[in-house]
Symmetry: C2
Subunit: 437 residues, 2 copies
């Protein structure tokens, strides 16, 4: 699909994408909904005020969703409306648009509503009520299980029967670019010594987790589960997520109730929400399709290919360096459960999901070297350092000044990529405590 | 302190209390802030409009907090304002009020602003951002640890070094009186059989957890921990909490990331927030004060008595019965960590707390028979049934139609109790699933 707007062939934001986010023009504090297209953001507030949506009847009663500072109201409208808005914006931007007067030939609206991406600041796309993180990356769960419990007990008996998950911290979910202060907390200087006596320290094993995450669109009421085959219609779209993890704090605190301080200091997401409809052509089978037959009925999907063929990667750049090092490349098919399965499982007890709730996939790792979604796995628990691109700098875990960039993109045809852009965070030094000197 | 209003001697809402909540008059959908006093609620929206606050200069710039549908804006004003509003309302209601014309002798305002508690509906007092549940009830953690892992490993090595906690589910926190639908999920028919294969079933081991919980007033910014000695000033007040728990779902799902579906279906809180200043006279030492000396500095409090002498109890009434059975009585001093310690630990990594966040204490159990805060402990893991007051009905876990009532009160002098009222929930039968027949 060609556009009258010049869109780079490798752009994540081709006409096949049309993701949604919240932006402000640099120097302004006014947040507005937007879509990303090529190297531009289309300010949907200005576009709506300029009659841009005048040829889409379905959105007329709901135009106020584009004058909000979050996408929650838009998301709550439900998938049929999201689909129509996306297809309408594609028709507005395509080379042979049936509505040239709306934007293509409307120089005034183009100059006010189309803003170069380099001139916008991205914000959290939705106000997040609850954030849940699943653990559906089978290879990650196995790799971490081996490190914590050995190969014989790497996966717990429940692992293949249900999408294991835990409640995460919503307040500290931040948009790409937000600096990450190294957390401090209780760690064991020598994990094998007895008795176990912790010390207080800045985290020494600060890690990343490469994940995808789904935003909830329409809510379900308390006491009313969502069936697995209806679950996808409750998903607005996906973002990239880096679930920063303090491995030394985690190892000490996590029994018996799971990770808490090891994860609550920050979780970074990419700012553009890629709609489930934009990802539909990239549906693919996840791991162990045979496992699906043995699932309990509430997790059995009609379609067997509810994972996505999305390529994922993450880079590391250390302070003072201009060169990034590619650490890992992997693919989102490395999940044992699909997002609809996670959502159905989440609600099977009657738990209510609300618009803006965020569901993380769990860390996505492949089986091959160089495809692990965390440094913990990549360095075999910190025992095998990575050499960065300069040939001399070594890393096991993150050091102050390190910048981590996640990327994800679906598709293989120039001009038709459906990508997530970047999810970036840079480590700042720990808070200094008076009692820590 | 005597009042011109007739307040029953045993009332939880004496003049020494002045808790805050959100009410609507029965038959109305308008939610307003209120305080409870004796057998009445004072509608603070109507009181403010009727010049009731005219003699309190400090609140004048903030009167709009009393026309909101949650207490978040009031809570965010901070402890010095809460203290002044409470003391002012005490002066308005005391027998020798210096302001008789405001309410005592103002029949018009009295008739519009004072509503019998029997004629109001209570709502969630604050909009909850994140809900965290701690595990600071040492006796409970020990009792449950014995059941799950045996007496030698009952408490994990970290337990006495930090307030263990986990992120809970905010969306399903409901006010007292909300019906609780029995959750369904994956359970093991025979936990000791191998291989472990779950079945889908309504929960058969539905339990309660008797807790206190603190609402956060003023926020801290991401990356900026709150010190333990400043932490109490970030707490608005306390409520009673019943953290309903599906023990069979929990036992199967909780490794390695903690409870999820076993807790996410509902958590009930009492509707009136008792200010930390109202509880100040009831400060008391918690468990194992000697343990405090060995804590890391960030958890060491200047004052050693930051627990509360609050009496707690819970009753059970089965369907068709008019008689409640007292199951347990205990006291809030049965906590190893104080709320300020929990809050300081929560933020030590830089995690940001927001106004309206809720921090649960963990289940509060004594050591003696009849003082356990859950049925799991009370019935020794379901092996020793309780006989209810009718002399014939037995209970291990909750059955459909059972109504559980939690109560809590501080003080021992008639006319001066500081109580929480009741926290009630009744079990409704599970959802019927087509595939479950």
């Amino acid at each position: 699909m060609a556009s009258w707007l010049s869109i780079p062939a490798k752009s994540h934001f081709s006409l096949a994408n049309i993701p949604f986010g919240i932006i402000s023009a640099k120097g302004s504090s006014t947040k507005v909904p937007a879509t990303a297209i090529g190297e531009y953001a289309l300010d949907l507030s200005t576009f709506a005020r300029g009659q841009g949506f005048s040829q889409l009847a379905a959105i007329q009663p709901h135009l106020d969703v584009f004058s909000q500072t979050t996408l929650n109201d838009f998301a709550a409208l439900g998938r049929p409306i999201h689909r129509q808005v996306r297809e309408y914006l594609q028709s507005v931007f395509k080379a042979d648009t049936p509505f040239p007067s709306l934007l293509k030939d409307n120089e005034s609206l183009r100059s006010s509503a189309l803003i170069p991406l380099s001139a916008v600041t991205n914000h959290l796309p939705l106000q997040i009520g609850d954030y849940t993180d699943f653990y559906a990356g089978l290879n990650h769960a196995y790799n971490v299980g081996v490190l914590f419990r050995g190969p014989d007990n790497a996966l717990q008996p429940n692992y293949k029967h249900l999408p294991v998950g835990y409640h995460g911290r919503a307040s500290s979910v931040v948009p790409s670019g937000t600096p990450i202060v190294r957390p401090s907390g209780q760690i064991l200087a020598n994990p094998t010594a007895t008795p176990k006596v912790p010390l207080f320290s800045p985290c020494k094993r600060l890690d990343i987790e490469l994940e995808l995450a789904a935003f909830v669109s329409t809510e379900n009421k308390l006491g009313q589960p969502v069936s697995v085959d209806e679950a996808e219609d409750h998903i607005f779209g996906l973002v990239l997520m880096n679930d920063w993890s303090a491995r030394d704090i985690q190892a000490w605190e996590y029994v018996p109730l799971g990770p808490f301080n090891a994860k609550n200091f920050a979780t970074t997401i990419s700012p553009w929400v890629v709609l489930v409809d934009a990802l539909e052509p990239f549906k693919a089978q996840g791991l162990e399709p045979g496992n699906r037959d043995s699932l309990l009925p509430y997790l059995k999907e009609k379609r067997p290919d509810n994972s996505y063929n999305i390529n994922l990667e993450f880079d590391l750049k250390h302070a003072g360096s201009e060169t990034s090092t590619r650490i890992s490349t992997t693919n989102a098919t490395n999940l044992l459960f699909s997002f609809p399965q996670m959502l159905a499982h989440h609600t099977i007890t009657g738990c209510n999901l609300r618009t803006g709730d965020l569901l993380g996939s769990g860390t996505i790792s492949g089986k091959e070297p160089g495809s692990q979604g965390s440094l913990l796995e990549h360095t075999n628990g910190g025992k095998e350092p990575i050499t960065l691109a300069d040939g001399t700098t070594k890393r096991t875990f993150l050091e102050d000044g390190d910048e981590v960039t996640l990327r994800a993109v679906a598709g293989s045809v120039d001009g038709a990529y459906v990508g997530f852009g970047e999810c970036v965070g840079r480590i700042e030094r720990a808070v200094e405590f008076a009692f820590n000197s």
